[in-house]
Amino acid sequence: MAAPPELAEPTTTVKTEPVISVRRLWKVFGPKAERVPGSPELSALSRRELMDKTGCTAAVRGIDFDIAPGEVFVVMGLSGSGKSTLVRCLTRLIEPTAGEMVFEGEDILAADPRRLRELRRSKFSMVFQHFGLLPHRRVIDNVCYGLEIRGVRKADRLERAQEVIDLVGLGGCERSYPDQLSGGMQQRVGLARALAGDPDVLLFDEPFSALDPLIRRDMQNEVIRLHREVGKTMVFITHDLSEALKLGDRILIMRDGKAVQSGTGEELVGAPADDYVRDFVRDVPRADVLTLKWIMRPARPDDVLDGPEFGPHVVVREAVRAVLAADRPVKVVRDGELLGVVGHEEILASVAGEG
């Protein structure tokens, strides 16, 4: 089921000036990797065929996206789909094979090693799946590390480290060593380390995948809280759809290195581009994600149109009670214009996961 055209706002491009803009990005591992992106014939091959023919693995294949300031941009896909490679390409921890990357108007691929280090020191920070903490340093010294290599004075960096430690709720653990902390606490250290340098963009590579479900939920709420408090742009990698839906303003779904679909959570759930995406979103509680505009139908002549009114962006779950309580269809209205109606049938289908 697709949304009415006049309502499907274009969400894949950003209206404001993007912080990061990526075009035709390729990363190919293997011998003579450079020839793959340029050759129409090779780049058309599937991953498997390319491997057999050239011995190369195409981890990222011609990805495009823009990220707006302050946005949480989620990249999602199964394991091996190239997410980690993609996010590492953004700071050139992995050198891209081809493409363009512009960050705040600057061509990142043109940066020399010194400039690249400057960018990494002040603009980007990354949080890793397995934390990547320094085992021989105490928590506070781990958090300081980024400032230390920038040459910040010791007193200043300790003060700043203490600030972010308090911010992520690690107060009291400053003198512990990483292996004395639980996984969740260790990732808080990773988070504090990333925040310490006050970067413009935070990159997360499956930061919570190694954690227990309950702790994972806490940490997700922590990220939401931090995003509200510090308002940084975030690129968040995950293989977990519920995490993606919970955190992401927009979601890019990858498969075998290619972008399959990108859009808001409700766009993915409401209008999956293909079976891969449909499979992904199958078990999502649709009523929690979709808004009324996705389930409404045009008013029929026999409808009694004096029921309650709702806006099109109201989440289904919130309208259930009102719709079921009314004995006539609910009207979906924008700026006084009737867009459609939602009756018992529509609401029940959506809650039952059929819509």
């Binding site: 990494r120 920070s125 990354m126 890793f128 990547g132 980024g146 290599i149």
Partner: protein, 654 residues
């Protein structure tokens, strides 16, 4: 269909086992017919043209030593620098110097420094025994010899680390350099210890400088290897995190990689020290001063008491050096977890006070004779030597039916027949057999290597001696493997046994090869058998450990499944665990062979004869120099051949 086709395939192509037996049978038949023909045997004082040529070459080098620019500006310089350094360290702790009748720092000072340093890098539980151990060296009446050994060892270690730590870091950072250096290190590690000695004396003359240089070369690889490995195994995530924060390569190295690798690097230094000690004692063969020389001299006069006393001193020093460096590696970990502020404070106070006391002790030892020279009247050395001699005499008079019996049986049943088979066969027949066996249990490549090594062995002119040594090596390795399988399986199956035996095996492995000769000389007198037993004791710990680890690493699920299917313990071992640990078994054979080979040669000192004797004689008699060098090369050839063969077999078994 397939079930029917299978036996036919097997029938068409005889299995390797059948081929192997056929080759052996053919060899035996031909051996009986051709026995005594083309054996290439050479008398003890007979020389081949090659040996003469090496002698002449050595003489020519000797004559040109002060004119040849390569020597003048390169080798002699190296020798000079090393010599100066060693002499200096000796002057500080071992030899009279600076116009004084005693070294700069006397025994009291050295004992205090040993205690202090041990406390500083480890803790008092290590420091007290370390200081006591060193004091014991003095009590043994071997203070000066011990200090000579220590001086040579420390000099070699310091110089070796100067090279090997940077090389290790480089190999840790650069894949290309790592690929380049790994085979070189592998090769160096398969060389029997004193093979380095012979060619070095050609360039650096017989004496402490050569001994130190040989020790440096021998001791450097572990430090390089461990450093590289420590850096390579630093967690990838952490390194990436450091890069993502904008660290330079240098910052990542200093702040992430080196701290992460610290423990491994200290372990490498420990290995380097132990290797150096081992080599310094063996370098007595080329006139290195110290405990090794005392042992060699005593062995040559069959003075078991003195040899035992000096051997004991080597063991004590080995234990002290090993314990201190091992504890230093472990300390960093533990100190970290100890966050009590008081213990840090106590430690700091002890360090300051102890430092002051140490300085006082050093000052005493440079000022007063009693603190400089170990008082000779409290020596227990003669008593130890006497006791050892008494025990030896008693054993030789009362136990000789037993020890002699064992010796004679093994010699008659194992050593003699095998040696006869190998030495009395035409050389080409034996060579053909070895190549065939290499192809069958190894690979075509192993067969090629074997063929090349065998031809070169013929070239050394020492074929018969090499075959005698090969016979001893095979017998010793067979015993090692028997021990390895029995004890290894026991350890691998039983955690308790493992916990009890492993520390002993670890300790056995760190001992310098030399000290194993002494007790067996006491038991069995000078003979091939003595050398073989010493070699077995030297090599068995490695083999046992490799087998035990192999057995342990067999998947528990498989073992459980086999047990659930109703296997008896014997079936479990022979049908599941040993076959699945096949790779470990071949690896153990490989290691066992290498260790045995390096020992059979040291055994030349106690009557092993053959190549070992040739080498030892070459160092002591000028006209046999060339032959000794050729014997050294022959040992290398045997080593390379056996190593490649067993490695090929190991690869095949994987």
């Amino acid at each position: 269909m397939t079930a029917l086709a299978l036996p036919r395939v097997l029938a068409r192509r005889p299995s390797r086992g059948v081929l192997l037996i056929a080759a052996l049978a053919a060899f035996l038949v031909l051996w009986v017919v051709l026995r005594g023909l083309h054996t290439l045997s050479l008398g003890a004082s007979q020389l081949t043209p090659l040996h003469h040529a090496v002698n002449d070459f050595n003489d020519a080098l000797g004559a040109g030593r002060n004119t040849n620019p390569l020597f003048l500006y390169f080798f002699n310089e190296i020798r000079l620098v090393v010599d100066e350094f060693v002499t200096f360290v000796q002057a500080v702790i071992a030899q009279p110097a600076f116009g004084r009748p005693v070294p700069l720092i006397g025994w009291l000072g050295v004992v205090a420094i040993v205690g202090y340093v041990s406390y500083a890098v480890a803790n008092w539980r290590v420091a007290l025994p370390a200081a006591a151990g060193f004091a014991f060296l003095g009590l043994q009446g071997l203070w000066q010899e011990s200090m000579d050994t220590l001086a040579l060892t420390l000099s070699a270690v310091v110089i070796a680390l100067l090279f090997s730590l940077p090389l290790g870091i480089w190999a840790g950072l650069s894949d290309r350099f790592n690929r380049l250096i790994t085979p070189v290190l592998d090769f160096m590690q398969t060389m029997p210890t004193f093979v380095y000695l012979a060619p070095l004396t050609l360039i650096f003359l017989i004496g402490p400088a050569s001994a130190t240089i040989a020790t440096i070369v021998y001791a450097a690889p572990p430090a390089i290897r461990f450093t590289a490995h420590g850096i390579r195994s630093a967690p990838h995530d952490t390194v990436e995190a450091s890069e993502s924060l904008g660290a330079t390569r240098r910052q990542t190295l200093v702040k992430v990689l080196l701290p992460a690798a610290k423990r491994t690097i200290v372990l490498g230094i420990n290995q380097t020290i132990m290797a150096a000690l081992s080599m310094v004692t063996i370098a007595a063969l080329i006139d290195a001063p110290g405990l090794g020389k005392t042992v060699v001299k005593a062995l040559q006069t069959l003075d078991v008491g003195t040899a035992f006393n000096a051997g004991l001193a080597i063991v004590v020093m080995a234990i002290v050096l090993d314990r201190v460096t091992t504890a230093a590696g472990a300390r960093a970990e533990r100190a970290r977890l100890d966050t009590r502020p008081t213990s840090t404070l106590v430690r700091r106070v002890v360090l300051i006070v102890g430092g002051a006391l140490t300085l006082v002790a050093v000052w005493f030892s440079t000022t007063y004779l009693w603190a400089a020279e170990f008082p000779p009247d409290v020596s227990v050395g003669p008593a130890i030597a006497q006791a050892a001699t008494t025990v030896t005499d008693w054993v030789q008079t009362n136990l000789s039916p037993v020890t002699g019996g064992i010796k004679d049986v093994v010699t008659l049943v194992l050593i003699d027949p095998l040696q006869m088979l190998l030495t009395e066969s035409p050389w080409w027949l034996l060579a053909a057999l070895v190549v065939a066996v290499s192809a069958l249990i190894g690979s075509a490549r192993a067969a090629l290597v074997s063929a090349a090594c065998l031809l070169l062995l013929v070239g050394t002119g020492l074929w018969a001696d090499a075959m005698a040594t090969l016979a001893s090596t095979i017998v010793a390795t067979a015993i090692v493997m028997a021990l390895g399988v029995v004890v290894g399986v026991w350890m691998g199956r039983n955690q308790m046994v493992d916990r009890v035996l492993r520390p002993g095996l670890d300790a056995g492995q760190t001992m310098p090869a030399f000290v194993y000769l002494v007790p067996f000389l006491a038991l069995f007198g000078a003979s091939r058998f003595t050398a073989i037993v010493a070699a077995v004791v030297f090599a068995a710990p490695v083999a046992i450990k490799v087998v035990a680890d192999g057995i342990r690493s067999v998947s528990p699920t498989t073992v459980e499944a086999a047990t659930a299917a109703g296997s008896s313990t014997w079936q479990l071992i022979t049908k599941v665990q040993l076959p699945m640990a096949r790779h470990a078994l071949t690896l153990a054979t490989n290691q066992g062979l290498i260790y045995v080979l390096s020992m059979v040669v040291v055994g030349g000192l106690v009557g092993a004869g053959a190549l070992g004797y040739d080498v030892v004689a070459g160092f002591s008699q000028a006209q046999l120099y060339g032959k000794g060098l050729a014997a050294g090369v022959a040992i290398v050839l045997l080593g390379v051949m056996l190593d490649r063969l067993t490695q090929a077999a190991a690869r095949r078994s994987q």
